[in-house]
Subunit: 193 residues, 2 copies
DNA sequence: GCGTTCATGTAACCTGTTACATGATTCT
DNA sequence: AGAATCATGTAACAGGTTACATGAACGC
């Protein structure tokens, strides 16, 4: 549903090739919507058919030719119409939480290890978002304000995850688990049928 | 990838029909992994083929027959093996953030309205998670602790979103936007080519 | 009489990932 | 000599949504 519009947003800033769009997805928009180049080329084809973008082949010597896409008036209108429809929030969806939910059937030591890995990852991401946020500085245009707000979601998200990982590591530590009154065998526990 | 294991987690608690699994996905596991019944029946078929579960048809008078699935030893092993592989965190993916990123090309008034709607939604969800968390009380078993920790992710997640929505509404209010030094036309702005 | 719950599934479709495929240039 | 960047795409598959299909029992 939204890949289409994410691409239109990218192209609405100025004409871009599929390759350019893919790069932007890796750098900025990709924080909020990811896509591989294979998907991007496929979608660009559809956008062209629906005449939401025009394509123009640019001769290049030495390098392969670029096919540059420009947004059409219809494309801008589609983008505006899309922005008027309520979007539904992304729901939590995480296999790690499923493992926690079924904690009696999983390997606790592995879970602890994965928690540490996640902690590092979330800290890295947090730093990345912060850096991008800093570059924007004091937002003096609507455009910068929008990007800043979007990044702040990322900052909060990663920060909370990192914080939670730290807590979870403590509460699932060997010592903490040993203190639980209702103890179950720690490793490879086979549930009652 | 993970639907398979989410279903195994559900069945590892005790034998269940496809219908039962679907219900549990609506109530508890569904906070962390969602699936429609069509997907669940399809997946159960595959699990049966791979002999990770057994199926047994139960006669019922009045109601349609139930097909009850039980986890096999191979199923438990698969679950354990899965828990040993690192899972990758869900990345942020939200069309709303894409709209913010391309704020010059969207309808600002609509955006504000959607922000309010989201705020409500996140508050509702937050309350839901909190209620479920309260019911678990002081975790005295590993199983409860796991579920509690999982719910806490949800609580944090919804709380941060709600908080962010409040902030965003202020910073994108008509008055706040009017104060930006680098003003762009507010409605239906057509970008420079 | 009508909607809900119980209970199963199929089919078509859309979205997203992985791998395949090619080929020149530039940097190390 | 080998890797990275530029630049395009296709094909097969996996995961997920929507809609179709059926049918009895129970409560309002």
């Amino acid at each position: 549903m939204s890949l289409k519009y994410s691409i239109l947003v990218a192209i609405s800033e100025g004409p871009k090739s599929g390759y350019d769009v893919a790069k932007q997805f890796d750098e900025t928009i990709g924080f909020f919507w990811r896509a591989r180049h294979s998907q991007i080329y496929r979608e660009l084809g559809k956008l062209k058919e629906k005449q939401l973008v025009f394509a123009e082949e640019m001769q290049q010597t030495g390098k392969p030719n670029r096919i540059v896409f420009t947004i059409s008036e219809a494309g801008r209108e589609a983008l505006l119409a899309w922005s008027r429809e309520p979007s539904q929030p992304q729901e939590l969806k995480d296999d790690f939480l499923v493992q926690l939910y079924g904690i009696d059937a999983v390997d606790l030591d592995a879970l602890r290890e994965h928690l540490s890995l996640r902690l590092e990852r979330h800290r890295d991401r947090h730093a990345q978002y912060l850096a991008k946020h800093k570059i924007l500085g004091d937002a003096d245009s609507l455009s910068d304000l929008g990007r800043q707000l979007a990044l702040e979601v990322g900052i909060r998200y990663e920060n909370e995850w990192a914080d939670w990982c730290t807590q979870a590591l403590e509460r699932l530590s060997v010592e903490a688990v040993a203190k639980l009154s209702n103890v179950v065998p720690i490793k490879g526990s086979r549930n009652k049928a």
